[in-house]
């Protein structure tokens, strides 16, 4: 009987893994489990409120990106019994596995913050990280006449931690273009002590906020939202008023992860950061946003991580020691408005630094610097995502981070 690999989640990481492993493990039975057949291009949500994309640009059937001989099974996971290596679905079905990959991502949970899901939800309080939220926000922005527009992050980690900053930059540029910036006060509220987590990028991005007169409210950990008074209150009783709130709710992994005893406090799967193997069961792995890797939750991390994961996984199922270690490498574009973007490239140990990528001096992408080419790269990425990334086709980029082209902190400061 062929051995069976069950992949929970047919999103970015699960789909990439299914395609790569289908080629590597031709005699295995591979099943992907997901609730539905809608694959969303999540990086596109950011552009929806500004009319760059429409809903239809961002949704494709999941099956289209899966190999013919990988089955997509619809179901909701109740829990995983790691002792008997069995997935239990909510409808009562069970799925035994030899190996399990959890790729169920991380998701906004507005119910975690008291008051968020009140009468103002999708009226003057919006979540940017869902297709419905981003679409509702597009309508609100279209009729916006001015006032206090607050962009807010509840708690880290969140997926794509630069997206709320990008939204603030794009809103600034969009409101200027449409003659409404002077009537709008823009505020960025974050639990971090600056614009971003790591010092060099935080300084650069903080400078960009200042240039654009976007007020930064740092060290703000929200306790409650009062949707009648339109006020955010922090745990140390500071208040931020808003007319329109774009908030990033607490992000949590899938609830079954917690029920299966595999997760941390936020239901992200506890894994070894080099191999992505569960610290609880050695035939369970977690890839993409579902894992509690100490790095950004983003498709680009998943992309480089899956490269390393696939090699290791093939070793693992053949009884060999896993020989590769993921270094946390990722890069991403940061939209800064006016058809420009920055790019950052980093790993577990190296913070985002200025320079060029992937080639020193040549680029074409500029690290931590705004350019039009970066913006073109960001828009072109949608094609790359559907056509190269998901099918697991080779990309001309190394999964290990390189210092070539980067300017270390000391030289940069000099």
């Amino acid at each position: 009987m062929p051995r069976r690999l069950v992949i929970l989640g047919g999103g970015t990481a699960g789909t990439m893994a299914a395609n790569r492993l289908r080629r590597e493990l031709p005699d295995w039975d591979i099943v992907v489990v997901d609730r539905d057949n809608e694959h969303h291009y999540q990086p596109g949500y950011l552009f929806l409120p500004f009319g760059t994309y429409e809903r239809d640009d961002l949704v494709r059937p999941r099956v289209r990106f899966l190999p013919d001989d990988v089955r997509l099974d619809y179901g909701d996971v109740d829990h995983v019994d790691t002792d008997s290596s069995t997935v239990h679905l909510v409808d009562g079905r069970t799925m035994p596995y030899d190996q399990l990959i959890i790729a169920t991502g991380t998701h906004p949970t507005p119910e975690e913050t008291p008051g968020m899901l009140g009468s103002g939800w999708n009226r003057d309080v919006f979540d940017l990280y869902s297709l419905d939220g981003a679409a509702a926000l597009a309508d609100a922005l279209a009729t916006w006449q001015g006032g206090r527009l607050v962009v807010h992050v509840c708690e880290l980690p969140i997926k794509c931690p630069v997206a709320p900053l990008e939204f603030a930059f794009l809103a600034d540029s969009h409101l200027r273009e449409t003659g409404r910036r002077d009537q709008t006060e823009l505020v960025y509220v974050t639990p971090l002590d600056g614009a971003f987590t790591k010092p060099v990028a935080s300084r650069e991005l903080g400078g960009r906020l200042e240039e654009r007169a976007i007020h930064l409210e740092a060290d703000f950990m929200v306790d409650t939202i009062d949707e009648d008074r339109k006020v955010l209150t922090s745990f140390d009783d500071r208040e931020v008023a808003y007319d329109l709130l774009v908030t990033v709710p607490v992000n949590r992994g899938a609830a079954f992860v917690g029920r299966s005893g595999l997760g941390d406090e936020l239901d992200h799967v506890k894994v070894d950061s080099a191999t992505m193997q569960s610290t609880t069961a050695d035939n369970v792995f977690a890839i993409g946003d579902a894992a509690n890797l100490p790095t950004s939750k983003a498709g680009s991390v998943a992309h480089f991580a899956v490269d390393v994961f696939v090699d290791n996984f093939v070793d693992h199922v053949n009884g060999r020691p896993m020989h590769r270690e993921f270094d946390g490498h990722a890069n991403c574009f940061i939209e800064t408005g006016d058809n420009k973007a920055m790019m950052i490239d980093f790993n577990y140990d190296t913070q985002p630094l200025p320079g060029q990528y992937p080639l020193p001096r040549v680029g074409p992408f500029q690290l931590l610097k705004e350019s039009r080419v970066n913006h073109m790269g960001k828009l072109a990425f949608r094609w790359v995502y559907w056509n190269l990334l998901l099918p697991g086709r080779p990309m001309p980029l190394s999964s290990d981070m390189s210092m070539r082209g980067k300017i270390p902190e000391k030289e940069h400061a000099a």
């Binding site: 931690p161 745990f235 406090e265 950004s296 980093f346």
Partner: protein, 103 residues
């Protein structure tokens, strides 16, 4: 790097967080707390003890959410005990590495 605190050598990073678990004791905690304007109470020490125990169990400094969820200390109280930046201040007084910020 090495810093002199209370007349003895301790290992610290560039922001002053201790990097060696065993350099710490309760007397040092009081001095570290004083450095950031805190007068330690028994309740502070309960939080600090949880952090140090959890660090040994998990191999990393717990996040604010973990201190709340697993340690049972309400977030609001942590903000009262360690005003402004509780996650950072708790780990500083507990002599643990700064919690890993996710990029």
């Amino acid at each position: 790097m090495i810093a002199q605190i209370d007349g003895r050598d301790v290992h610290v990073d560039e922001e002053g967080f201790l990097t060696e678990y065993d350099d710490w004791d309760e007397a040092l905690a009081a001095t570290l707390a004083g450095n950031i304007g805190l007068a330690l109470t028994d309740r502070h020490m309960e939080v600090v003890s949880f952090l140090r125990r959890d660090y040994v169990d998990q191999g990393e400094t717990p996040t604010l959410r973990r201190v709340t969820a697993t340690g049972g200390f309400p977030t609001r109280e942590l903000f009262k005990l360690f005003p402004g930046k509780p996650a950072k201040k708790m780990s500083y007084v507990a002599g643990l590495p700064k919690p890993v910020g996710c990029v």
